[in-house]
């Protein structure tokens, strides 16, 4: 029995040697990726679960400052034009009102830097915030009220009358499309990618599918509406801005706000301990800037909690798209041509052409490929990242088209995909770091009972319900963005791992505690994971499904630094004297020699001998070289069974299964929850989510959860998830982030199942009953 862990010898875990060079072609995989590692993959319950369900977890809109005022916004009702008059007299005279801020009295602010355009950019667009009379979208904040209570602020904001000089606005996508143009970049890459001559190959192909798919706008509906509580603290000229935000990018937000307010970033401090869902929407929008500006003007702290409607007016969503997929194939189903092109709505003030061809870059080994994205400029709130931007709607088009081709060829849809499985990335030419899509598809098909699918649509019925099965491929890239760094503090109690990362409900705090415990050879109870604070080290975006790997890479570097420090502390009497980092490993709450159980010392012993209360090590993550060496993606296959009513066209999803290949799964419980959550969001995308954007006014007409439909409990069947659990040898922990892949492929899997049920091919989302009946 170990005196340190209480475990018997049988439970004894292998030590964790330093992980160094997983990113190199000849590098060694991170030992934490090996199967059978203690803790890794275990279904540990959320460490903050009790806090959350008992109300102990405080969210941004629940913090308070002494003397705090409440904010409410008034929003524009035109899409383009000028404010020619704002009547705020009634509002100013109302009880409890402390300030009415408009462009006429707002403090002068710099234009916010835009996400993905500026290195410090966290903002959704580059419009000046309440700095002039211009209106750029229907719903833009035009006035802000601060009052002693939220009710007083709301009532005063409603009393504000604004007169506009309206100018013509491009609010009709059909019209905007006629002036579509190529954007200067798509996620930093080219808007068009060509391999061979896809158009020529398509013309001469034996079998051809050429179809247009359309997807609507979507809005963010995280369960926690955006909120911020903030105060300018300290005296004249040297004030600091203290912000409780709901954020998935605390450091970027600090950098952006520093630029907006023209102050040093060291004078802004953002914390965000709990976030009630991010999905790409919890970045920097006007509400945080306006709240800080108003607090400055009023000289008092401010809380701004957006209403649900306010979120629709101020926070961007997913852009609508019109996509063409043209597939050419030979008799064996081998793709000779793959064309995926189309148009997405965008504004001239942001930098996210909805990247719907992303998944198509890596999925199929067609001989000739052409991918092209154009954008249609519109007067609307800037579109933004929303769970798997690009892949979610792009896989709807691509994977529907594959199903149509399979039908034309009389081939099983999974067989068709198998015949087009590429050996290397078809557009970059790089080898895949880890691709086990076919294994995932095979295992999923077996579990789901895919072989029972009737190839003839409309073959199966139960009463008025026609039953069908469908499948589609899911995929999302692996990423590890630069900037991550971590600090490990070791003391007698255990280790504190600190990094400016985020917990938005996906389980980061839990999983990273598990990982740190395994890496340092400590029990999870002895790990404290600190995050969600801009004062912590590193810059980690909780986005692009990259946070897990980013934190992992940073902790690997910090572990190395820590071991260096520890070895520097040991003296000649220590059994570890004279060793180099390569010779040791972390195990049993201490450091030991690889392959020699007798040479070992606990962290406590090392610290005690050196008379040190604590030891701090900090390091930057290694550069993401792995992304230059391999094509790195997660994969999966979604299986779906639907019933379609012959009478009404109503669609009921009866079964849903996701079989994923996402490297090593770090926590079976939180992973399953993330996969399921993504798949439920995919059901919403398939069947009901749609922002009603009035093409006459540019106004969103369903800004509420009553009118903007997401799946309710009764729409969601039992969902099964499974995974290959094959580690990617070239990533930290062998893992991939899994926050987004769950939503991909679901739209097409549902559409394909509907076709199999009733023979109706719907290429326009959402698939409502009128399109089927």
């Amino acid at each position: 029995m170990s005196p340190f862990t209480g475990k018997t010898l049988e439970d004894k875990q292998p030590g964790v040697a330093l992980s160094g060079d997983y990113w190199r072609p000849d590098g060694r995989p991170d030992p934490l990726g090996e199967s059978g590692r203690q803790g890794i993959g275990a279904p540990l319950s959320r460490i903050d679960g009790a806090q959350k369900v008992t109300g102990g977890a405080r969210f941004a809109g629940e913090f308070r400052f002494d003397g705090m005022l409440y904010a409410a916004l008034a929003y524009s009702t035109i899409a383009n034009g000028r404010i020619v008059g704002i009547d705020t007299r009634v509002a100013e005279s109302m009880e409890g009102v402390a300030l009415v801020m408009t462009h006429e009295n707002a403090p002068r602010l710099n234009t916010p830097p835009v996400f993905l355009r500026s290195p410090d950019g966290a903002a959704g667009d580059d419009h000046p915030v309440m700095q002039n009379e211009r209106v750029h979208w229907n719903g833009q904040p035009v006035a802000l009220v601060l009052a002693e209570t939220q009710e007083q602020a709301d009532a005063a904001a409603e009393s504000i009358h604004v007169a506009y000089a309206t100018e013509s606005a491009m609010t009709d996508f059909e019209m905007a499309k006629t002036q579509a143009h190529e954007p200067d970049n798509v996620l930093g890459g080219p808007a068009e990618i060509r391999v061979g001559d896809a158009d020529a190959a398509f013309e001469t192909a034996t079998h051809r599918i050429d179809a247009t798919y359309t997807t609507p706008r979507h809005n963010h509906n995280a369960i926690e509406p955006h909120a911020v509580t903030l105060a300018w603290e300290g005296e004249g000229g040297n004030e600091t801005l203290r912000i409780h935000d709901a954020s998935q990018c605390v450091d970027l937000a600090v950098a952006s706000l520093a630029e907006v307010f023209g102050i040093d970033a060291s004078r802004i401090h953002i914390t965000s301990p709990f976030v009630g869902g991010g999905f790409g929407g919890k970045t920097l929008w006007q509400h945080q800037i306006l709240a800080a500006a108003a607090a400055k003007l009023a000289g008092r702290p401010v809380r701004m909690s957006l209403t649900r409607k306010g979120v629709y007016r101020v926070v961007g969503g997913r852009a609508c798209t019109e996509q063409r997929v043209a597939l050419g194939a030979d008799d064996q189903g081998r793709l000779t041509a793959l064309i995926h092109s189309g148009i997405a709505a965008m504004t001239r003030h942001n930098n996210l052409p909805e990247p719907f061809t992303q998944a198509t870059k890596c999925l199929y080994g067609a001989d000739n490929i052409r991918l092209a994205i154009e954008v249609a400029d519109m007067h609307m709130l800037a579109n933004t990242f929303m769970r798997a931007p690009g892949e979610s709607v792009g896989t709807f088009a691509l994977e529907s088209a594959l199903d149509e081709l399979a039908e034309q060829l009389g081939m099983d849809p999974i067989e068709l995909r198998k015949r087009n499985e590429p050996e290397r990335d078809p557009t970059s030419g790089l080898p895949f770091s880890s691709r086990h899509l076919l294994e995932a598809a095979r295992a999923g098909a077996e579990r789901f009972g895919w072989s029972e699918r009737a190839s003839q649509p409309g073959s199966r019925r139960e009463g008025e319900w026609r039953i069908g099965l469908g499948c589609a491929t899911a995929t999302y890239p692996y990423m590890r963005m630069p900037g991550a760094a971590a600090r490990i503090t070791l003391d007698a109690e255990g280790a504190t791992v600190a990094i400016a990362a985020h917990e938005m409900g996906m389980g980061t705090a839990t999983v990273q505690t598990q990982v740190a415990a395994a890496r340092l050879g400590l029990p999870v109870e002895r790990i404290r994971f600190r995050y969600g604070d801009s004062l912590l080290t590193g810059r980690v975006l909780a986005g692009g499904s990259q946070q897990t790997a980013a934190i992992g890479g940073a902790v690997i570097a910090a572990q190395r630094a820590l071991v260096d420090e520890l070895l520097g502390l040991v003296d000649a009497d220590s059994p570890l004297a004279g060793l180099s980092p390569a010779q040791v490993e972390c195990r049993d709450e201490g450091l030991g020699v690889v392959g020699d159980d007798s040479r070992f010392e606990t962290y406590r012993q090392i610290l005690a001998r050196a008379e040190r209360a604590e030891l701090v090590a900090e390091a930057d993550a290694a550069d993401s070289e792995e992304l230059a060496n391999w094509s790195m993606h997660s994969f999966g296959t979604i299986f779906c069974e639907v019933g379609v009513s012959e009478v009404t066209g109503e669609i009921r999803v009866r079964r849903l299964l996701g079989s994923f290949d996402c490297g090593r799964i770090l926590n079976a419980k939180t992973a399953a929850s993330q996969f399921r959550g993504g798949m439920i969001m995919g059901l919403g995308l398939a069947l009901m989510e749609e922002t009603l954007f009035d093409s006459r006014s540019g106004r969103i007409m369903n800004p509420s959860l009553a009118d903007y439909h997401v799946p309710v409990q009764m729409d969601v069947p039992e969902i099964e998830v499974m995974w290959t659990d094959i580690p990617d040898p070239h990533t930290p922990m062998g893992a991939h982030g899994i926050g987004e892949i769950g939503i991909t492929g679901v739209g097409a899997a549902v559409a394909n199942a509907i076709y199999n049920a009733c023979g109706k091919r719907v290429r326009d989302l959402p698939i409502t009953l009128d399109k089927v009946m």
Binding site: T648, D715, L769, D770, M773
Partner: protein, 337 residues
């Protein structure tokens, strides 16, 4: 929402008195619709007179029906054993609506007077003749998937959103009222108005009149009544089309004929829609597919589609036929037992 006064009425007479005394007063039921509308500033009452404490009983009537107090919650009506046994479609209709939490708050009186969920009515930035007479109608050329194909006018195409009211329309319910001039009764089917040129006038209620009760007359065939609601998700959505139906067969004749029928539609009309035309076609006719189709066609002959809701004509037709067919099957089984 702007500030308002609140008064809790102790009895119906006092509630009406208070309403007469105070300009801009409104009766408050569960508040599940009115308070929403106040938040959106569509409704701006000076005072709310809370009538939820009044008439919270469901009583037998001498005629053999039920008298449901206006303050009874939707949940209580749906769960009442007598309602479930004798008027099951009313229970079903209520349970297809809203959420458990809302049904626990919402009252019968309030449900009758709930207002359309037309997006342009709800958004004070839009043009709406119902909200602002003469302003125009943004729904006619806008998003009108949820709008009416029956009973609409050039000034308004908004649907009445209630499920419960569709059941009441089928049941020939009566509405009991108390106003400054005293008590009176209205047939439920005469309570709501079609919009015509005055979409802001939604009912035949006189100023300050308070709904005190809804009376269900005895109706034996209602034992086999049903409510089917078709919508955009499995729960928590307004009807695209809903059908309340019950059928009595006459098996004594040579051909089995439809002795009596009640049919009402929701989600398709500007008021809870009793399908009088269809019923007229069905009564006394053979219980065949042809009769059912002819009845549905007769009801929908005057249906007028908008840009986004033409599918509702075919959907309403199909659901009417399917539901009547099922009621006939049920009636045959009922006859055998």
């Amino acid at each position: 929402m702007r500030a308002f006064d609140y008064h809790q009425a102790v009895d119906s007479g006092q509630a009406v008195e208070q309403a007469v005394r105070r300009d801009g007063a409104k009766y408050l039921g569960g508040g599940t619709n009115l308070v929403d509308l106040m938040r959106e500033t569509v409704e701006r009452p000076e005072m709310l007179i809370d009538v939820t404490a009044l008439s919270r009983d469901i009583d037998e009537t001498d005629a053999g029906g039920l008298m449901i107090g206006a303050g009874v919650t939707n949940a209580a009506v749906a769960g009442d054993a007598r309602v479930r046994l004798r008027y099951p479609l009313l229970s079903r209709a209520i349970l297809t609506g809203a959420s458990a939490q809302i049904r626990n708050m919402a009252t019968v009186g309030g449900n009758l007077l709930q207002r359309t969920r037309c997006a342009y009515f709800y958004d004070v930035a839009a043009s709406c003749n119902k909200r602002e007479p003469g302003a125009g109608c943004d729904a006619r050329e806008g998003f009108n998937r949820y709008h009416a194909i029956l009973g609409a006018s050039s000034s308004c195409v908004a649907t009445h959103p209630s499920d419960m009211c569709v059941a009441l329309a089928a049941l020939d319910a009566r509405v009991h009222l108390l106003g400054p001039e005293g008590e009176r009764e209205l047939a439920f089917n005469d309570l709501h108005r079609e919009p015509g040129e005055r979409p802001e006038l939604e009912t035949e209620l006189r100023p300050e009149e308070l709904i005190t009760a809804v009376e269900l007359p005895p109706l034996p065939m209602a034992v086999r009544s049903e409510y089917r609601k078709v919508r955009d998700r499995a729960s928590y959505a307004f009807a695209l089309v809903s059908v309340a139906s019950m059928v009595e067969l006459d098996s004594n004749t040579e051909d089995e004929t439809i002795a009596d029928v009640r049919l009402a539609l929701g989600g398709v009309a500007t008021k809870p829609w009793r399908a009088w035309q269809a019923e007229a076609v069905l009564r006394g006719q053979p219980a065949t597919e042809e009769t059912l189709a002819a009845a549905a066609d007769a009801e929908l002959a005057v249906a007028e589609p908008l840009s986004g809701n033409a599918f509702k004509i075919e959907l309403a037709r199909r659901v009417m036929i399917a539901e009547l067919s099922q009621r006939i099957v049920d009636a045959r089984k009922g006859g055998e037992s």
